[in-house]
Symmetry: D3
Subunit: 180 residues, 6 copies
């Protein structure tokens, strides 16, 4: 695997926002090719994970094509393993093109990949307090100027699929502690 | 969804060969964008499904980049639902970017999508008796001039991952009727 | 499906109480036939879901037979999909007789069925603060006059299966935050 | 459980035909109430299991209502456990109202329930060589006078859901040995 | 099963500490043979369940061999059933050698086995406030004299597999409420 | 892991017969300690896999204790992964104590462990045509002098659990091609 010139960038991308785009550009400045792996792939319709995998793949692919970054990216998807963490790294390996290095700021992802012998690199996120998933989902739910936080393609798709109404409902469920 | 200008092309791609490439070009001559969905995503290391999803995504992405077709494609993956066929179409919908039309020659896929109200289009495969997955896997197992049947990127990756040895072993298991 | 004169009434029915019976009668005053779908079908032996699906089916069937409502009802069961909400509506459709309209007060059920294009109708529950599942389960756990809250058949079955002792234990686990 | 006056009748009911109806009447001549448990609940769209659970529940409920047998029946459903046979009896017990006796001609069902200590009773099927699921499915696939083999309600529902076309396609897949 | 002279001792053993060893010796003073069943078998890499099943089996087996207790023990493992509690006792029965009596202080385990007709015996734990799993995991995370709480074999294995570093990371995730 | 002086011996052990015992003794003549891993752990009550995991663990543990081999063995269990072969080696690693070398004659097990970088050693089975699982199961089904093929403890347990009757029934199902 020594000759593989490809890195893994893993996240939930709920939704894919400008902080993610900034991070991806930084990784692409260091790596020839990047596997963007969409995590928690099986979940949707909760405040934490509002969008389906299909919706997230469409957002990311469309945004990266518009940004001219698509040529050096391969999209992949990885489900959560419901607490079976000892299988998670091998699950990622089975589902993704080969990679040599992992980019993540998520501590458990780091722990698991380091135990498996991988090099893990932290990401200098863009204005972390601004471009943060939970915050952006709340702003979408209120339909209050959220379009500036995401690439244009992502904003367009969220509009088309009724994502604002969905998040408005999900934030209500969240506040009542209801999870079906 | 009426405005969606995207089609679905679904297959197992074990491996992605020139017949698939030919079919994809034909679909791209009719559609603006194509979701290439890799089916039976969870299986590998059997004669029918020798390659992991990650290996197949790497083969397809690399081949399409070399062919200059990547810009109008989005890769996705769909697991088999183990006989729970009534959930399969919705599983595909959840895991893939939106699409308006389905291209397949697989009869059960056609039946399920037609029952769900989708337009399904058959594919004029290139020399079907030559470019056929089972046959190509047997030729790889014998390591007998198989490279001409697949795009150069696919041949390179099969070599790198030890795919010939793997298929040689799997064809032996197949012939003994052994499936672990 | 336009000719289907049947509605869906979905709930966990832990247990089936007089509020549910009241709601069902109201729905039957508007619909020719009702599918009573028992949700969270796979769970039992927790304070939130004390009774097995089999126990709940027996309670509901016996109560509806005694009430003379059985002739216009079909019982069905639906498991939770563990956060895979994008598959939930199709799961319900696969597991239940055809229906044209959905009766529920549960917000996520409403959201999911509305996104799938179904008409969803709210239910005027009987004295919601009295006939409320959590409250009734607590009263059963204390064995304090709970029989008046449920149909006679439900009370009889809860006694027969040792449901009071079970709830007494489960409420203790709940208060300690223990869930095996 | 000694006082329970209820029996279990388990089958796949693909579809529910006059042989099943005859068997149910015979069981009802001996038992006060019968749980009709629909097995292989999760499967559909194969030649062996063409109809979804929802379709089968609708067929059985509608037929039994028309026959005036509904009052003494409770419908339930049981999935296959994919070879985990040691959990199957307890799965049935969890998903069904309490029962004291099991009616079946299926040898593995008999073995498992007998090992668990249940009384198992064989069923005198009506003209077994005529009313046999596989044969009836083939006749439906050919659309050749199949209505006489099933209750009128079942025939009507099969027509409404496009069951003849579905079986025509599935029998073709069966003959090619294709199972997606 | 009346002649079976074997008991079940069930726990998560995260990790196997001197309190567990003390309890096992007490059970062995009353029983001819003991099945030590490792629960929550599928989980690892969380603060509540840091060690894999394999690591726990190795710790217990090595400790019991060094203690001279191995000859009268059989190790087994039982996964959680994710809220499907009605299947749990039968799952244990299927996965473990036959046993006649259950030793546990866990209330839900007691409830489930008692409903299934088993005799359940409480365990006089050694200085419960000292030998308590959560407390011992915190002390390991701080690497502060934890070796005295566990058998020497367990301490050695935790060192070898990097268990201190793992727990140090997991306690941080726990305190942030992060669970991947 | 370099210091680990332990090997893996993996099989289905349906049942554990004298060929397995012979093989284990041979492995123990070369290794300090052996993990005996019972494969296809979740299956039972089919002709290929008649005995539950619990029954197999009891047979193996009792036999090895009587043979005086228990002190150098650790029992473990591994489920099949239903065709997800790319996760199988890591599943074994997660569920078993650490091991350095794998003993097996099963070709797919060999392929998967070799691809993962393990040393795999073949086993010189005792009179392979005599001590072969399928053949021994047929002889048990006929109750024709099978006790000489298995260790005394195994024979005793098969008698106690009604294993002969079970196999007699299962061989009938097998011959009819019935698998529930």
């Amino acid at each position: 695997m020594s000759g593989i010139d490809r890195a893994l960038f893993i996240g939930r991308f709920q939704p894919f926002h400008k902080g993610h785009l900034h991070a991806l550009k930084w990784i692409l400045s260091r790596e020839a090719e990047v596997v963007v792996a969409v995590g928690s792939a099986q979940y949707s319709h909760s405040f934490k994970n509002p969008f389906t995998l299909g919706e997230r793949l469409e957002m990311i692919a469309t945004a990266l094509k518009e940004e001219g970054l698509w040529e050096r990216v391969i999209l992949a998807a990885v489900p959560d393993t419901d607490g079976k963490h000892s299988l998670w790294v091998q699950t990622v390996v089975s589902l993704c093109p080969r990679f040599r290095r992992v980019y993540t700021n998520e501590p458990l992802t780091r722990l698991l990949f380091e135990e498996a012998g991988y090099e893990v690199v932290g990401i200098p996120f863009l204005e972390r307090e601004v471009y943060e998933g939970t915050k952006i989902r709340r702003i979408i739910a209120e339909d209050a100027g959220w379009e500036t936080f995401v690439p244009p393609a992502v904003a367009r798709i969220i509009r088309e699929i009724g994502g604002v109404k969905r998040l408005t409902e999900l934030v209500k469920l969240e506040s009542k502690g209801i999870d079906k």
